[in-house]
């Protein structure tokens, strides 16, 4: 296990090279992306920019037309199961069975990731407590609000302690308190060494949480870096992230 961990830390969390995908038209084109362990990376872009397709290809759900993807050195295309073992994917629509309770849902996810039952139970209890779902752990999810569903899905993503999290609009539908809770939880994960890539349309979230931001448009990475680097690339020294984003994406 130690050997695995040391290798995991030595490798980039995500390395994408020359990634391309088209569905009749080019959706992602020759994309290069590198994310380090412990890094919080926000992928921004207008609707149809290719953010979700990129995340799906990294998660092993969509096969790229060209390019390579490796997660902590594990080739997603050649060894998808090995790569998935250390990843978690949270899409914009909650992946939830309405007829299962949160505890049953976590039981299912833990089984899929082969988490040892005792460890899984303890981790499930901890996550349900942290996310405020403990009183509802035996209730079926069909009656849950959007925010509760999103929190349950997040608990599912974290139960196997992934080294790399792919989050597609994870804060959609959350109220202020839940949103803060999730943000803190994600920060704690990066502090423990996990890498996160997140897509969002809420620029304030990217600005506050991300260590680096990438701006994608038309399937191409237009700019990348922290806010200062993005301002420099856009030529807007004192501009907000919104100014920079709009400048780059509309100019393109």
């Amino acid at each position: 296990m130690d050997g695995v961990n040391s290798r995991v830390i030595a490798e980039p969390a995500l390395m994408v090279r020359g990634l391309s995908k088209s569905f009749g038209r080019k959706v992602v084109e020759n994309l290069d992306l590198t994310i380090r362990p412990g890094e919080f990376y926000a992928l921004l872009g207008p609707n149809g920019a290719g953010k979700t397709t990129t995340l799906r290809m990294v998660a092993g759900l969509t096969r790229p037309d060209a390019g390579s993807i490796s997660v902590y050195g594990r080739d997603v295309l050649a060894n998808p199961l090995g790569a998935k073992q250390i990843m978690a994917w949270v899409p914009d629509e909650p992946l939830l069975y309405d007829k299962l309770s949160p505890l049953e849902y976590l039981e299912f996810i833990a089984g899929l990731w082969r988490v040892e039952p005792k460890t899984a139970r303890a981790r499930a209890d901890e996550l349900l407590e942290t996310l405020g779902l403990w009183p509802h752990r035996h209730e079926r999810c069909e009656g849950f609000s959007r925010g509760m569903k999103q929190k349950t899905v997040l608990a599912g993503a974290l139960i196997h302690k992934p080294q790399f999290l792919l989050l597609d609009e994870p804060l959609t539908g959350l109220d202020a308190a839940a949103s803060r809770l999730v943000k803190e939880l994600l920060r704690a994960e990066t502090a423990k060494g996990a890498a996160i890539i997140l897509t969002t349309h809420i620029l304030e979230v990217a600005e506050r949480l991300a260590t680096r931001i990438g701006i994608l448009s038309g399937g191409t990475l237009l700019a990348e870096g922290n806010l200062a680097a993005l301002q420099a690339q856009a030529g807007l020294e004192h501009g907000t992230l919104e100014d920079v984003f709009l400048h780059l994406t509309t100019a393109q």
Binding site: M87, L95, E104, E107, L112, E116
Partner: protein
């Protein structure tokens, strides 16, 4: 072009939505040709049936069926059964158009008068519940007309009149129900009524086996119309048999009922929709201790069994399919003797196994709303499918456990053939159902379950072929029943 947002325009929209949400077109874009083929097939069979009716009338030496009290009674019984069947379907359809589809409150928020929305919805329900019966009854009516018995065509206006009345009553019932219970509970009431109807019809069909023949004869005789045609109680029956005055009176009565409900229901309807739209199912508590499993297959199997057990209407669906067990029970307990003895129960059990397997796999295949979750997990792609198949087989064998044990006790020599038949039919149908799940009731409010009519037809065919094959294996003289007097 129909002017928006007038009544015809709104009705066209409603019928279009209902049509696209119907079983026929839910998963297939090209349905007109198969529907026409099936309709032609039905028409062919109906022509043969109509010919028999014409011959029967000739033998009775009556020019018109209405002259026969038994014909009037048969028409009335058919209309009564149809009423109950339509009513149970109309309840679920009404709940769907009020709440399930989720667009009623949207329409009521528009400047269209609520009364118009209500009338269109009620007409839409009437059309949707009348359609299958118009198809079935219509082909017989056409067949009779082809032999010069034009009164047969009255099936069209009469079935539609009945549907109008039923839709209005169901709407009134549902709106009243929605004021006191949740849409889910109201939907359950509809399912329960349908179940009770199915069981009632089945028991009635079996009655001659338990009730002495003179009692049955007396019962039917008491239902026959008197010398004057039975009065108002037989109004619809006379209409169905084509008597012009009764037909007009029936239509007027149905239309009046429809309008009365429409007039008195407009306001409560709007209130009911708003109440229903605000209702959200309470997360029902489940007694689950959290038994975490080490293997992905065990976790997926546990999840699939839970999804089967919590499928809406699971009880009614299983009971419907398990009615085959009633004759099996009679045969195994020796209450009913037929050619082939105990071996007659074997094909029945095989058929039931095929139908249950197909149903359970369809629940899982059609209800798998998030396949991407397992796809993102570090498990082989085939594992979720294998778990679903295992869960379907397990659920089927769980239901069949008792008849299997009874067979083991009563006729152990038949068990190997039975086991082979069950294995074969289950494997065939779970593989088929995974690719072509049968259409089921919606998996949840606002969600359309997948499924194809072709899967249903093929599944029944597979079950039939397997049970016939097993019958050939186990029966001492399998084709004896084909011989006259056999």
């Amino acid at each position: 072009m129909l002017a928006a947002p007038g009544f015809p325009w709104l009705l066209r929209h409603e019928l279009r939505v209902l049509w696209r949400n119907s079983i026929l077109v839910r998963t297939h874009r090209h349905v007109v040709v198969p529907v026409l083929v099936v309709a032609l097939l039905f028409q062919g069979v109906a022509l043969l049936l109509a010919h028999q009716i014409v011959l029967f009338l000739a033998r009775q030496q009556v020019a018109h069926a209405i002259a026969l009290p038994t014909a009037l009674l048969a028409a009335n019984i058919n209309l009564a059964f149809l009423f109950i069947l339509m009513f149970s379907r109309a309840i679920t359809a009404s709940i769907d158009v009020i709440y399930g589809r989720g667009d009623a409150d949207f329409l009521l928020a528009s400047p269209i008068p609520p009364g118009r929305v209500l009338a269109v919805r009620m007409l839409g329900v009437a059309c949707s519940i009348a359609a299958p019966w118009l198809l079935l009854g219509g082909v017989l009516g056409n067949g009779l007309a082809a032999y010069g018995q034009y009164w047969g065509l009255s099936v069209y206006p009469m079935f539609f009149a009945e549907a109008l009345l039923v839709a209005a009553l169901a709407f009134a019932f549902v709106v009243a129900l929605l004021r006191v219970v949740s849409p889910q509970a109201a939907r359950r009431a509809g399912h329960s009524l349908a179940l009770a109807t199915g069981i009632g019809i089945f028991i009635l069909g079996q009655a001659p086996r338990f009730v002495p023949q003179p009692v049955v004869a007396r019962f039917w005789a008491s239902l026959l119309p008197g010398p004057h045609g039975g009065g108002v109680a037989f109004l619809f029956a006379r209409g169905l048999l084509g008597q012009p005055a009764a037909l007009a009176a029936s239509l007027a009565f149905a239309l009046a009922g429809f309008c009365a409900v429409w007039i008195f229901l407009a306001r409560p309807f709007a209130d009911g929709v708003i109440t229903a739209a605000a209702s959200r199912p309470r997360g029902r508590a489940t007694a689950q201790a959290g038994r975490f499993r080490a293997s992905p297959f065990a976790a997926a199997l546990a999840k699939d069994l839970r999804l089967i057990a919590r499928f809406p209407g699971i009880f009614t669906q299983i009971v419907y399919r398990s009615l085959t067990l009633v004759p099996v029970a009679f045969i195994l307990t020796g209450k009913f003797h037929m050619a082939g003895g105990m071996s007659a129960a074997v094909p029945l059990i095989v058929f039931l196994a095929g139908q249950l397997g197909l149903f359970f796999i369809s629940v899982l295949a059609g209800g798998e709303t998030i396949p991407e979750l397992a796809a993102s997990a570090p498990v082989p792609q085939t594992m979720p499918r294998q778990a679903a198949m295992a869960a379907s087989v397990y659920a089927t064998l769980f239901i069949l456990a008792l008849p299997l044990l009874a067979m083991l006790a009563r006729a152990p020599r038949l068990v190997p053939a039975l086991a082979a038949g069950i294995t074969g039919v289950l494997l065939s149908n779970v593989l088929l159902g995974q690719r072509m799940p049968i259409p089921l009731v919606r998996a949840g409010f606002g969600k359309t379950s997948t499924g194809t009519a072709a899967g249903l037809i093929l599944g029944v065919a597979v079950s039939t072929i397997w049970s016939f094959f097993i019958w050939l294996v186990v029966a001492p003289h399998p084709l004896l029943w084909l011989r006259p007097g056999g």
